[in-house]
């Protein structure tokens, strides 16, 4: 479960002064559901998700992830979250196995549980063939699998994906999309940001359109279609964001 209430994040910028990157964002995402945060570049998606992952601290407002407060209990939140974005790279000089082991240990798993969990994940994602190869030598697809394994090693109830398919080829992107669906099937709470309409349309149970740090509208795809009397999500997005300018 993810729940935010009037979440705000301000940055000081030398040229622009005080920038409200996230402005009173309130959203709710249930277990077994995918919440899609749809917005253009710079809309505030990454900052919102980074606050949910406790990488950034909110300026004001509150957020609870898996029942833990992001400000008061950041470590509990991080234990409950798997965070994946194109910015979360791998340690090139570690092997695929070492990379996943490292994060398992950081999550406090004992060696027995860790070995068992890694055995399961590596088999499921077909990673055993390259488990001892250094991450820097892996193909993009293999790297994505290692990243997925890294987010799964502690079996978190909440998954946060920040534009996870950006810059990936079609086949690799499909692996990610399939993985996100699988998370939903397993009853995890999933929040996912993207600026690719088709992806959001295909995947998300609930959509929030974010622009200039504000959530301008939200609902299921059907609710949005009814509300704006349009069928195409892109048309809805342009309509909503156009009004918000």
């Amino acid at each position: 479960m993810i729940e935010t209430q009037d979440l705000c994040k301000n940055f000081k910028d030398k040229k622009r002064g005080l920038v409200k990157a996230v402005d009173n964002v309130s959203l709710r995402c249930q277990p077994g559901q995918i919440y899609g945060l749809l917005g253009a570049n710079g809309a505030g998606k990454t900052t919102t998700l980074r606050m949910l992952a406790t990488i950034l601290t909110p300026t004001s407002g509150s957020a609870k992830v898996a029942g833990f407060d992001v400000v008061a209990q950041p470590q509990n939140v991080r234990h409950s979250v798997g965070f994946l974005s194109t910015a979360t790279a791998l340690y090139g000089r570690l092997s695929a196995l070492e990379m996943v082991q490292y994060f398992g240990r950081l999550h406090g798993l004992d060696e027995g549980t860790l070995a068992q969990r890694i055995g399961e994940i590596f088999t499921r994602l077909e990673m055993n063939e390259f488990r001892d190869r250094r991450c820097e030598k892996l193909s993009t697809g293999m790297k994505q699998k290692v990243s997925i394994a890294r987010t799964l090693v502690h079996d978190p109830p909440v998954m946060i994906f920040d534009e996870p398919t950006m810059g990936l080829d079609v086949m690799t992107a499909r692996t990610i999309v399939a993985f996100i669906r699988e998370c939903r099937q397993r009853g995890k709470t999933v929040i996912f940001s993207s600026h690719v309409m088709s992806e959001v349309e295909k995947l998300c149970d609930h959509i929030g359109i974010i622009h200039n740090g504000k959530i301008l509208t939200e609902g299921t795809l059907d609710q949005l279609r009814q509300r704006y009397a349009m069928t195409d999500l892109e048309d809805i997005f342009v309509h909503v964001v156009g009004d918000g300018r």
């Binding site: 791998l90 570690l94 950081l106 999550h107």
Partner: protein
């Protein structure tokens, strides 16, 4: 404070760094190779160059002296120089290094020697040029002995005993034990090298573990793991400290081996004082341990300061541009400690790096000023604690971690 978490980060960073070629070069290759090159290589090269210069017979001009054939004839038989025809542009010839020196014999010099009149001999040479200095020394040697002979003859002619001019002898006697002489000559170099290598050994891992992580995009990956930022920075700090100390230890080990070798091989060719010093300069294990104990807080300070500075940078390149000037900040006080005449006092004991360098120089020569050692160790610990505190605090600041 979870030692387990710090240990997990440290172990990972150690494995990661040992697989990084740049870190390996600065941590292992440089200290092992630099020391033999500096001790054996440099001294062997110097000896060789000086010997070669000595073997060359410098060309010398005699200016004037036409009316002093006796002096000129004797001079031409002086060993170690070769005489060439005088030329008007003798100064240019010396500057151009075609001729190494010139000696000007004033008119009526032979006659003046007979009559007892005083004349001035001028020797022209190129200061700082070793072959020119050898030529000048040969000429001075000739004229000194001519002067001494003339004085003896004149005194003998007047029946005056030579002791009148030489009422007593002066004999300087060294009382400093040979190991301290050795320590003074080469001992200053040891703490200097250890401090400098601590810095260079820590530099690459510090940049790699902070700015390098930002550049490669792994900073966000590690920040979303449950480890607290304090544990993260402490794990990284321990790795950088290990690199600094490993570099210093390897340099000391390499230096000990080099000295042993230098003593047996190059020793025979050295000047007497230096050879004696070298022969007695052994790296006393107690001294080495004491120097290490003194350098430890400095290494902590370097590791923490380098982490803090390079964390601020957005990329490896930016970190390098911040850290390069730091080399000068460290080298200056370390070099200052090697200058002759700089001795420890309470004020200098508070200046970081310089204080450790000075006290280590004394420790290497076997002198232990316990009061200074206490002040310096305590002050270095305070500086180290401040640097570590700043590094930990910077890791909590998102404007530093996500500087755009």
């Amino acid at each position: 404070m979870s030692m387990r978490n710090i240990g997990v980060v440290f172990r990972k960073e150690l494995v990661d760094s040992l697989r990084d070629r740049r870190t390996l070069i600065s941590m292992v290759v440089v200290p092992i190779l630099l020391m033999p090159v500096l001790t054996i290589g440099m001294s062997a090269l110097t000896i060789r160059l000086v010997n070669r210069a000595r073997q060359d017979v410098p060309k010398v001009m005699i200016l004037g002296g036409q009316d002093s054939p006796r002096t000129v004839t004797a001079l031409k038989q002086a060993p170690g120089v070769e005489f060439v025809a005088a030329a008007e542009n003798y100064k240019d010839e010396i500057i151009e290094k075609r001729v190494r020196a010139a000696v000007e014999i004033p008119p009526g010099f032979d006659a003046a020697l007979e009559s007892g009149e005083t004349k001035k001999i001028s020797i022209y040479y190129y200061e700082g040029e070793i072959r020119s200095q050898f030529a000048s020394q040969a000429l001075q040697g000739f004229f000194r002995s001519l002067r001494d002979r003339t004085v003896s003859q004149r005194m003998a002619a007047r029946n005056i005993p030579e002791t009148l001019l030489k009422p007593f002898d002066i004999t300087p006697q060294n009382v400093a034990p040979p190991e301290k002489v050795g320590g003074n000559i080469l001992g200053g170099l040891i703490p200097y090298m250890v401090i400098l290598l601590c810095l260079t050994g820590a530099m690459y891992p510090a940049m790699d573990l902070t700015a390098g992580e930002k550049e490669r995009g792994t900073m966000e990956t590690i920040l979303c793991s449950p480890i607290s930022r304090t544990h993260l920075v402490l794990g990284k700090f321990l790795m950088v400290l290990t690199a600094a100390l490993a570099t210093a230890m390897l340099s000391i080990a390499s230096m000990a081996v080099s000295f042993k070798y230098a003593k047996s091989s190059a020793g025979g060719q050295m000047a007497d004082a230096r050879r004696a010093a070298m022969a007695n300069l052994t790296l006393d294990p107690k001294g080495v341990i004491a120097v290490f104990a003194m350098v430890l807080p400095i290494a902590v300070m370097f590791a923490a300061a380098l982490l803090a500075i390079s964390l601020f940078a957005k990329s490896f390149k930016e970190a390098q541009s911040y850290i390069s000037p730091l080399m000068i900040v460290v080298i200056l006080p370390a070099v200052a400690a090697m200058l002759p005449g700089i001795e420890l006092n309470t004020r200098l004991a508070l200046i970081p790096i310089l204080n450790t360098s000075l006290v280590s120089k004394e420790i290497v020569t076997g002198t232990y000023h316990w009061n200074y050692i206490a002040i310096i160790f305590a002050s270095s610990c305070v500086y180290a604690a401040i640097a570590l505190f700043v590094a930990v605090k910077l890791f909590q600041r998102e404007d530093v971690l996500f500087r755009a």
